[in-house]
Structure formats: structure tokens, C-alpha cells
Point group: D2
Chain length 147, copies 4
């Protein structure tokens, strides 16, 4: 596949995936950029996302990173899911912050892949570093029954 | 501190933390059990939690585990936050599932702690295994300005 | 397969694997117990294992845990390798210490598995907690060309 | 501290640390480059490093990465140890391979730090990706009793 086709597949896969992804939609996430093996997703921290320490719940920072990971590893139109992930929390995010998660592929074999995601706030400060391991299933993203 | 007092501190810390934790509340989580170093939290998977593969978004499974982790590591009335965490996804959860996250302390030093969380569904099937590293701050949970 | 046969397969797999495992032998490790999905391996910390902080090199504590992991996940006579692993260091080990790594299976699917390993010293103090993700290959352990 | 002084401190810290690090020496590791927050370490895979699958024991690949991590996080003359680490194994290494571990600092706070290490073979192929979390102790590296 040439570069242009690969880009179209990446964009189409992300569009189909996002359309079905009620969780990411419900949390106000937007997919602002997709390339083969890469994705950038944004999310605004609302007051409903604040935890008992009055900062953004780490789980929701993870969820943003996990969505960016999902969009980046599904750019080949092969249905791919998360097998495992880890996150390091560097700084708190607060209500009103605009977070951006940038995912990039580090490595990919036939079935498995590794992706790094950096989460930053509107000042460019790093909030969290995330690493995800993907597992490719048998079906496509776009051509699936629900695609 | 005797066992009974430790249990009261654990319950009071969890109550104060939960009251401020709009994220966990908003996601429908309930803290069903708290002991020193332990917590059990439930969450029902709603249709708003489903991702592009039509199963519960892994980020929200993580968020449930992360909340159980937070409640378990804050049972000593010392304000404690997550430094890092990792998760392995074992099986998908679906809309309508009732998930339970059970957190237990593995180890604790002066400032750091390690907690394991098992997430199961209503059939007792394991959905995910989570491990969190905590970092203790200087203040209390209950006596904090917002406590 | 009945329990007795499963135990024999586990012991035979470990014996074959250990015989080829020059690294574990060279580091003085001994496999002291094997059951399906479980293994216990010991190692004495020598003065050649000490790092720049004058405690046992964390990499060698990891190596001990990794060997216990390898022996435990290869107990089914299916050639199985490590895909990923993580370790938390709880306390230092010193030259002369006798370390024991106890590995137990947490979960296993068709191809993947998760194993926990606890490393303790001769006083029973925990030195490290390890978690490994295994990946099963196509061949057997015992019947392989080199088995 | 200016750049030149910082480089001298980094080199001096690494030299002192390596001199005491019998494990890294014994495994034939060489520190080929050090900069503030960075280190590059090499190791030749010997026949004594081979495991039961007849490839380099993953623990020793980890040990190489862990040494590079240690040299990189101790470049500020503050005694710093590993709190936790994770590794993903991408491809096997074989006896005779010349491995290089390149560590770089991703983030550092007052006490904690995160470091990435890439392990490659003599063909430039990536063997493993490693991430370490450091914890800074109170003393210096160079001025320590054993320095």
C-alpha cells in the first residue's frame, strides 16, 4: 500500500472506530490527528472528572491515553485491542485543563504492538507517560458487522 | 492504634474521599467495603462506557481499579496519590455488567506502597489485574482544608 | 490429563529446560520445586553480583525472578517465552544472602499467561515483586530438537 | 552548574559507580558514553548467558538495560536507586551478539525520575524496550564512604 492509501485507511479506521466509541464521545474526546501508527486525541477536564484529591482522576487521564492508543493501533484496519498498559503520573491535571494525548507506535510484530502515549496540558506540561501493548484480532475495523 | 480505631480511620478516610470524588460518583461507583489497606468498589457498565469494539472501554475498567486503589491506600488518613499503575486486560466487560474491584495492599514503606486490584464481573470472572504504586504526601485526608 | 501426569510433565519440562539453561546454572540457581504453573528457584548472592551501591544488582534479582517465571510457565510442555515483565524493588539484597523466587500462575489463555513472582531472602523478607507476561510458541519443551 | 561542569560530574559519577559495580564488570559491560541523564552501555552475549530456549536469558538483557539506567540516573552525583522497572522483549539475542543499551531521562522531579532504555544488537535491531523509575537517596555518589 502506498503512503496515500495508508493514510486513507488510517483516517477511515479512526472515523469508524470513533463513531462507535460512546465512551470517548461521552468524555468529550476529539480525535484531532491520525496517521498510520499515530493518533492525537484531546479532552477537556470537567468538574465531573475530579477525584477526592480535587485533581483530575488518574483513571480518566489513563482513559484519554488509552483512547489515543486505541486509535493509533487500529490505523491499519485490523481490529486491535489493548492487552496491557502502564502509566506514570508526572503532574496533576485540573478542572478546566485541555489535555492532549499523542500516541506513537514504537514497535509492531504480526500480532503484538507497543505504543507510547504522552499526555500534556494546554501549557505543554507533561501530565503522564503511558505505554500500551496491543493485540491484533482476526477481523477488520471498517468491514466489521458494526462498521 | 488498635484494630478498631484503625478500622474507624479507614472508614472515615474513605467517606471523606468519596464525598469529594465526583469522578467516581459520576461513573456510578460505590465503595462497598473498606479496611486498613483494602477496599472494594463496584461499578455498573453503562452504554455510555462502551468503546469502538463495543465492549467496556479499558480506560473505564482501569478507572474503577484506580478508584479501589485510591480508597485502599488512603485508609490511614495520610493523603496518598498514585505514582504509577499497570493493568492487564484478561476478558472484555459488556454493557450491563456489574464490575467489582477488590484492592489489597502488598507492601508499604514510609512513603511508597504497592497495591493489587482484581476486577471481576457479576459471574466472578476476572476482567483485569491492576497494580498501583502509591506516593504519600504530607497532609491528612480527613483534616485537609477540603475534608 | 490427570493430576499425576500433569505433575510429571511439569517436572520433566523443568528438568529439560534447566539442563539447557546455562545462564541460570552459571548464576548458581537451583529449581527446588515445580508444579503445573508454579516454580520455586533459589540463588545465593555472590560478591560478583554486587553493584555500584554495594547491594545485589537489581538486574540479577530480576534474572532470578525471570527464571522462576520461565520454569513456571513452561510446565505444560509448550515452549513458552517472556513477552514482557515488570518488577518492584522493595528492599536490597546483600552478598551472602540466599534468595528464593516463588512463581505462580495468575491467568492463562490459549497463548498468553500472567505470572507473579515473589523474591524473598533467607529471613523471609520480601526483596522484590515481579509480574511476567508469557507468550506460548508452537513447539513442545521436551520434544524440541534440543530437548 | 554549567554544561561543562555537569558533564564532568556525570563522567566522574559513572566512573566511581562502575569501579564498585562488580556485577556489570563481571558480565563484561562497558560504559561507552555518559552525559547528564544519559548513558550507553555495551555487553557481549556469551555462551554462559544462554537460557533453556537457547537465546540470551531475558534477565541478562534486563540487567544490561538496568545498568544503563543506573549510570544515567546517577549522573548528578546524587545516590539514586531503581524503585521499579518494566521491560518488553521484542526479539531474541544470541550468543556472540554485541548488545548496546542506550538510556535517556524522560522526566525527573525532586526525588523520582523516569528513564527509557533501548537495547539493540550489532545490526541495530531492537531487542528490548525498558522503562525504569528511580528513587534518589540522601547521599552523593562520589563522596560516599565507598566512593
Amino acid at each position: 500500500m502506498n503512503t496515500r492509501d495508508a493514510q486513507q485507511v488510517a483516517e477511515r479506521s479512526a472515523a469508524v472506530l470513533y463513531e462507535r466509541d460512546r465512551a470517548s464521545q461521552h468524555l468529550g474526546m476529539k480525535v484531532v490527528e491520525v496517521k498510520p501508527g499515530r493518533a492525537r486525541v484531546t479532552m477537556r477536564v470537567t468538574t465531573d472528572m475530579v477525584n477526592g484529591h480535587e485533581v483530575c482522576h488518574g483513571g480518566l487521564v489513563f482513559t484519554l491515553a488509552d483512547s489515543a492508543f486505541a486509535f493509533s493501533c487500529n490505523t491499519y484496519d485490523r481490529s486491535t485491542v489493548a492487552a496491557a498498559a502502564s502509566i506514570d503520573f508526572l503532574a496533576p491535571a485540573h478542572a478546566g485543563d485541555e489535555l492532549t494525548a499523542t500516541a506513537s507506535e514504537q514497535w509492531r510484530s504480526r500480532r503484538a504492538g507497543l505504543y507510547e502515549v504522552v499526555v500534556t496540558n494546554q501549557k505543554g506540561e507533561r501530565i503522564a507517560l503511558f505505554r500500551g501493548r496491543s493485540h491484533q484480532l482476526d477481523g477488520p475495523v471498517v468491514g466489521s458487522p458494526t462498521g
